[in-house]
């Protein structure tokens, strides 16, 4: 048989080897969660944003994406082109060449400059988000003490102090007002957990024995997941909470409904939230 045909057949066989199992298994790849489209990951590279600094993070991400995309295309392009151009041909000899210092200097300096640029810009955003002396002044402080496997949330109440009788305590449900910056104090109680709200582009570990803090300013009303991003044990995968971003007024109303009446034990426990005292010791 003609060698070209054999080669073609062999390639076809190779392709079949890969596609047949894929196609066979594809029936198992059908969407089981019908309210989402399987292709939605492609429509939108980054998920929606809902905090003031989230667009900055995304901007940095996209900038790096463009730069790396260009480098990627150049590098892989050269590679593929060379592989094709310099494939073995009888009678041709490879070039005898040991290198070129000018080239070495060029391809050291250019990446170095790009990386310095990226570091400087990244640092601006980094300190805007994480630097303690850039935290918004006078933002209300809320304390979250995550434990296996729930988010124990405390509002200081009208007196503005924690661990006083007027504290408001909820589990897994964080209520906040839109367009008002807030600071969260994180205190791990047992293992490391990590406070992660994807739409806010915020993540911060909560470490036992070492309080940490984050701030953010939610820009949209709505409900968002709080995910635990640090492996914290068997129930890590279901350690989920919710941030409810509401209007300023609804937040005040909710606060009022939560306030424990000063002398007597709590009378009204709203059904929506499991208002429960933390079992702190």
């Amino acid at each position: 048989m003609n060698s070209g045909i054999t080669r073609g057949l062999r390639r076809l066989f190779g392709a079949a080897l890969l596609t047949v199992p894929t196609v066979l298994l594809a029936q198992d790849v059908k969407p089981r969660y019908p309210n989402h489209h399987w292709y939605s990951w492609w429509m939108n590279i980054l998920p929606d944003t809902a905090s003031t600094y989230a667009p900055d993070v995304d901007g940095m991400f996209n900038l790096i994406l463009w730069i790396t995309l260009i480098v990627f295309v150049l590098v892989e392009g050269c590679l593929v082109y060379f592989l094709w151009k310099y494939r073995h041909k009888p009678g041709r000899k490879a070039v005898y060449y040991h290198g070129n210092n000018k080239l070495e200097i060029t391809w050291t300096t250019i990446p170095a400059l790009i990386l310095v640029f990226l570091a400087v810009f990244s640092n601006k955003i980094w300190s805007e988000i994480k630097s303690p002396d850039r935290f918004p002044k006078n933002a209300p402080v809320i304390r979250i003490m995550p434990r296996q496997f729930e988010w124990d949330i405390t509002y200081p109440g009208p007196d503005g102090k924690f661990d006083t009788p007027d504290d408001i305590n909820t589990i897994n449900n964080l209520y906040l007002a839109a367009n008002e910056p807030v600071q969260i104090k994180l205190q791990g109680q047992d293992v490391i957990h990590s406070f992660f709200v994807p739409e806010f582009r915020i993540k911060q570990d909560a470490v036992p024995g070492m309080p940490t803090a984050v701030w953010f300013n939610p820009t949209h009303t709505g409900e968002y997941d709080i995910a635990c991003a640090e492996l914290c044990g068997l129930g890590h995968y279901r350690m989920k909470g919710f941030v409810h971003i509401v209007s300023h007024d609804s937040l005040s109303r909710w606060m009022a409904s939560q306030a424990p009446p000063p002398p007597a034990p709590a009378a009204v426990a709203p059904a929506a939230d499991t208002a429960k005292k933390a079992e702190t010791k």
Partner: protein, 613 residues
């Protein structure tokens, strides 16, 4: 025993030379002092652990692909794994969450410490260093033997973790306390202790190897083998051995402290006021620092990732140059960037801790150093491209894998820049983006180079050739399915999918990723198949492969000057080295060939020739 050996020894002592010791089977193949045999022992043990790690990875992928535990493919594979792992880990067809955690923890542990590291710094370091520098053996052959057996022992201990009560360690390969320090919080008891003990032993084995490699390379190079005539694999392994020597003791200290916390009631990593199910922890004084572990671990951990890539870069450089029939582009730049990576590798560990609560000012420092480490990585990539430019390629399987390395490592290096930017890392830290990055550098990088290296040096290891057709099938299947599994991980990460998570469909923002995950899992099983094809090729060729010529690839380095089987002692006469290792297509090559072996004297070398030999 000794009474039988004695007469022979007397006889050889009176004979011409001590060359022909008749070693018993045990001394020749099991407790061998010969670096080549030890290298091959590491090859087999690493292949075994690669399979173990791979099996665990498939369990993880099965769970992630079908978190609802339904579908014929899920059920079929779950039954298969149930038969292996039993009811305690897979209840009927349900992969239990505790086993899921153990599976990804042990997967990473086996792959890193018992597959990739021993492949590179066990198999290739052992096999290549003496042969490529023209030495008879390692400086300390007994230490070398001990290194293998201690490493095997530690692997066996790690395997035992699956059968002790409480199951294997499930705190991730990074084992962050307090989860890893307090059994009540993780439910894992002896599994975690064994993990610590095993890694301690494996560290001892690494150190024994490292000391040996450094000593051998410094002291035992053949005449003429100056530092700048050393093949790049030797350079890479030399620098890697130094990394091991400096990084592993730090890990060892951390492991011992954590073991004390677990077994003796100390509190190095356990702070005051830890609660267990709402009540204070008993049996510990507290006062420790949770972040101390992370600093110690990553002070080791980041150099560790370069321990797993530098030797792979060395192997790749060698293979590229041979099959491009061209000198390495920028040999000195290559050496300098190896050293640069090694140095910078010690000052970037904090990039794993950007979100840990460490002072954000440190985040800035570590971001700058991390950006800096991307520079030598870029230099190496450009030099590989330079090496390919103007070549005359032979597309052997080894060459394909070396190309695979370059193209995949480029992706891994570029994704590293996203994470190096600390604000971007806020979002992608601890998501699948990281998992994607790891696998592009460690699988697309290190494992590809290891496969390439095995195809390339197999003729010298076993005296036969591997099957090129099966090899190419292996490559293409692996290359395509690899990208099918790991590229989408970046997309998962960018969607915010956390790593180490048993059931992401709990989250509103992640449920729609199930079909993509299922596709990735299918690719993972194809990837597993490709590894089986490789193992078949390996063992088939050991017994049935066609006999290999002495120098099948027309290569320059010294290992190709000795014929199989290479006797203990390697070189019948001390080789003399006249030039660098990459003189391919040089104009002054001996008549009719495009390579110039390192040991062939130049034409004018004349009368002293015979004396030097």
């Amino acid at each position: 025993m000794s009474t039988i050996v004695l007469p022979k020894e007397i006889k050889t002592a009176h004979g011409e030379h001590a060359h022909h010791h008749e070693l018993s089977f045990w001394r020749k193949y099991i407790f061998s002092l010969d670096h080549k045999v030890i290298g091959i022992q590491f090859l087999f043990s690493s292949c075994f652990f690669l399979l173990v790690g791979g099996l665990l990875a498939l369990v993880v992928r099965l769970q992630l692909g079908w978190p609802d535990h339904q579908g014929w493919f899920y059920l079929m594979m779950a039954k298969f794994f149930h038969a292996i792992f039993g009811d305690k880990m897979i209840a009927g067809t349900i992969i239990l969450p505790e086993f899921y955690n153990a599976a990804f923890t042990m997967h990473a542990t086996f792959m890193i410490f018992f597959a990739v590291m021993p492949f590179l710094m066990g198999t290739f370091a052992n096999f290549l260093i003496p042969l490529q520098i023209g030495a008879g053996d390692m400086a300390f052959p007994k230490l070398n033997m001990a290194s293998f057996w201690v490493s095997l022992l530690s692997g066996a201990i790690m395997l035992c973790a699956f059968i002790v009560p409480g199951g294997a360690a499930g705190g991730g390969w990074t084992s962050y306390p307090t989860l890893s320090a307090i059994p009540e919080l993780s439910g894992v008891t002896w599994g975690q202790n064994l993990w610590l003990i095993s890694l301690l032993l494996s560290g001892v084995a690494s150190l024994m190897g490292a000391i040996n490699y450094i000593t051998t390379i410094v002291n035992m190079r053949a005449p003429g083998m100056s530092w700048l005539r050393m093949p790049l694999p030797v350079w890479a392994m030399f620098v890697t051995a130094i990394l091991l020597l400096l990084a592993v003791p730090v890990l060892a200290a951390a492991l011992v402290l954590l073991l004390f916390d677990r077994t003796l009631g100390t509190s190095f990593f356990i702070p005051h006021g830890v609660l267990v199910a709402g009540s204070p922890l008993t049996g510990h004084t507290g006062g420790g620092q949770v972040l101390l572990w992370q600093h110690l671990f990553w002070f080791f951990g980041h150099p560790e990732v370069y321990i797993m890539i530098l030797p792979a870069m060395g192997l790749t450089s060698e293979i590229l140059s041979v099959f491009a029939r061209k000198p390495i582009f920028g040999y000195k730049a290559m050496v300098l960037s190896i050293c640069g990576i090694a140095f910078l590798g010690f000052i970037v560990w904090g990039h794993h801790m950007f979100q840990s609560g460490m002072n954000p000012l440190l985040g800035t420092t570590f971001m700058i150093s991390t950006m800096a480490i991307a520079i030598p990585s870029a230099i190496k990539t450009f030099n590989w491209l330079g090496t390919l430019w103007g070549g005359n390629f032979k597309f052997t399987t080894a060459f394909l894998f070396a190309i695979g390395f370059v193209s995949m490592f480029a992706i891994g290096g570029l994704s590293g820049i996203f994470m190096a930017s600390s604000p971007v890392d806020i979002f992608i830290h601890d998501t699948y983006f990281i998992v994607g990055h790891i696998h592009y550098v460690l699988f697309g990088g290190s494992i590809m180079a290891i496969f390439g290296g095995i195809y390339y040096w197999f003729p010298k290891m076993f005296g036969r050739m591997m099957n090129e057709k099966i090899g190419k099938l292996h490559f293409w299947l692996l290359f395509l399915s690899f990208n099918g599994v790991f590229f989408p991980m970046h997309i998962l990460g960018v969607n915010g999918m956390m790593r180490r998570i048993y059931d992401y469909t709990q989250y509103e923002h992640l449920a729609h990723l199930q079909p993509l995950n299922a596709f990735m899992s299918v690719c993972a099983f194809i990837l597993g198949l490709s590894v089986l094809i490789f193992l078949f090729n390996l063992f088939y060729s050991i017994f049935r492969g066609p006999k290999a010529p002495v120098n099948p690839w027309n290569a320059n380095t010294l290992e190709w000057t000795v014929a199989y089987p290479i006797p203990h002692g390697n070189f019948a006469e001390m080789p003399h080295v006249f030039r660098g290792p990459y003189e391919y297509s040089a104009p002054d090559c001996p008549e009719g060939q495009d390579f110039y072996p390192q040991n062939v004297p130049p034409p004018g070398w004349g009368p002293t020739d015979s004396k030097a030999h």
